[in-house]
Amino acid sequence: MDMSLYPHAVAMSADEFMTWSDAMINDLLSSGMKKTIDSLTGPIWAWGMKNSMHPLHWGLACCALEMAAASAPRYDAERYGMIYRSSPRQTDILLVNGWISKKIRPDLRRLYEQIPNPKWVVAMGECAISGGPWYDSYNIVQGLDQIVPVDLYIPGCPARPDAMIDGFMLLQKKIESYFDRGVTMED
C-alpha cells in the first residue's frame, strides 16, 4: 500500500479508495501498531512541514537583504509556504545569513535552543559557511558549524534570492526523508 499517496486520497475514485483503505486496515491489524502508525503518519508530517517552512525573522548582514528580496514580488518565497516568524518559539528553521561575531555567539546559541524540535539550520552565504572574506579577523567565528549543527549550506556572496529558494527546495527533500523513520517522542 503506497502511503505517499495519502494527500491525494481526495482525488481517488470510490473503487480505488476502497481497495486502498482495505489494504491499509489489513496492514494495521497484522503488523505492530506503532510501526504502522508511524509509516502512516510520517509522510503526512513530512508533507505538512516541507510545505510550511517557517524561518526566523532575523537578518544579520548582506545576505539578509537577499533574503528580503526573496520574499519580494519577483522571487516570492511565500508560494513555497515560507513565512517569517518573529518569535523563535514559532519557527522551524534558523536561517543565519551573515558573519558571526563573538558578541552574537551566545545569543545565536540561545536562539537555536529556543526553537522547538524538529528544527533545521541553514547557513546562507560564505560568511556563515566558513567565515568568508573575514578569514583573519579577531572577532569572527569561522563558520556556523562551529556553534550549531548545520543542515543546509547555501553558497554565494551574497547568495542570490533564487539560490536561496533553490537551497530551500533541497531542504524540502531533506525534510521528507527525515520523517521516513517515523515520528518519535522528541519531535
Binding site: K102, K103, Y135, D136, S137, Y138, N139
Partner: protein, 155 residues
C-alpha cells in the same frame, strides 16, 4: 582676547585667524576647502573651543587614532555647515600612557568616536563621560588596532 565670530570663513581667513589667536597651531598644507594643521596635544581643548565658538564649526566629523609605532596620533576632522571648508587637526601623544583631553563637551558627536578610539588603540580621553568598550565584547582586554597586535596568520 575678544575675537570676532565668523560664520563662513574661507581658507585664508582661517589661516589668518589661527595666526592671530592660536599661535600653537601650525598649518601644514591648504587646498581648496581644506586646511591641514598640527596641534600639540596639551592645547587641543582650547583650540577646538576657539574653532567651535569663533569659526562656527558645528560638526565634528570624526576622531581617528593612528599608531605610528614610536608615538600615537589623534586626528580630528571638523566641518562647517555654511562654507563646506574642513579642518584637519592632528595631535601626537606618547606611546606609553597616552592621554589627551576629550572634545565631547564641545561636540557631542565626538562621544562615540572617542570611545571607539580608546577601545581600539588605548588612547585615554580625559573627561569623557563614559569610556567603555563599544564594538568589541566586554571581556576583551587587548587593543586590537595597535601594530603590536597581529591578526592570525600574519606574523
Amino acid at each position: 582676547m575678544d575675537a570676532e565670530v565668523l560664520q563662513s570663513p574661507s581658507v585664508e581667513e582661517i589661516v589668518s585667524q589661527f595666526k592671530a589667536h592660536c599661535p600653537c597651531v601650525e598649518v601644514t598644507k591648504t587646498e581648496t576647502r581644506r586646511v591641514y594643521a598640527k596641534v600639540p596635544s596639551e592645547n587641543i581643548f582650547k583650540v577646538c573651543q576657539f574653532i567651535h565658538d569663533n569659526l562656527t564649526y558645528e560638526h565634528c566629523s570624526t576622531v581617528i587614532g593612528v599608531d605610528y609605532i614610536d608615538h600615537l596620533t589623534v586626528v580630528y576632522h571638523l566641518t562647517n555647515y555654511y562654507s563646506g571648508v574642513m579642518i584637519e587637526l592632528s595631535a601626537d601623544v606618547p606611546s606609553e600612557d597616552p592621554h589627551i583631553d576629550s572634545v565631547t563637551p564641545i561636540w557631542q558627536g565626538a562621544n562615540w568616536h572617542e570611545r571607539e578610539t580608546w577601545e581600539l588603540f588605548g588612547i585615554v580621553f580625559d573627561n569623557h563621560p563614559r569610556l567603555e568598550r563599544l564594538l568589541t565584547p566586554k571581556t576583551y582586554e587587548f587593543f586590537p588596532f595597535r601594530k603590536s597586535y597581529k591578526l592570525r596568520g600574519w606574523e
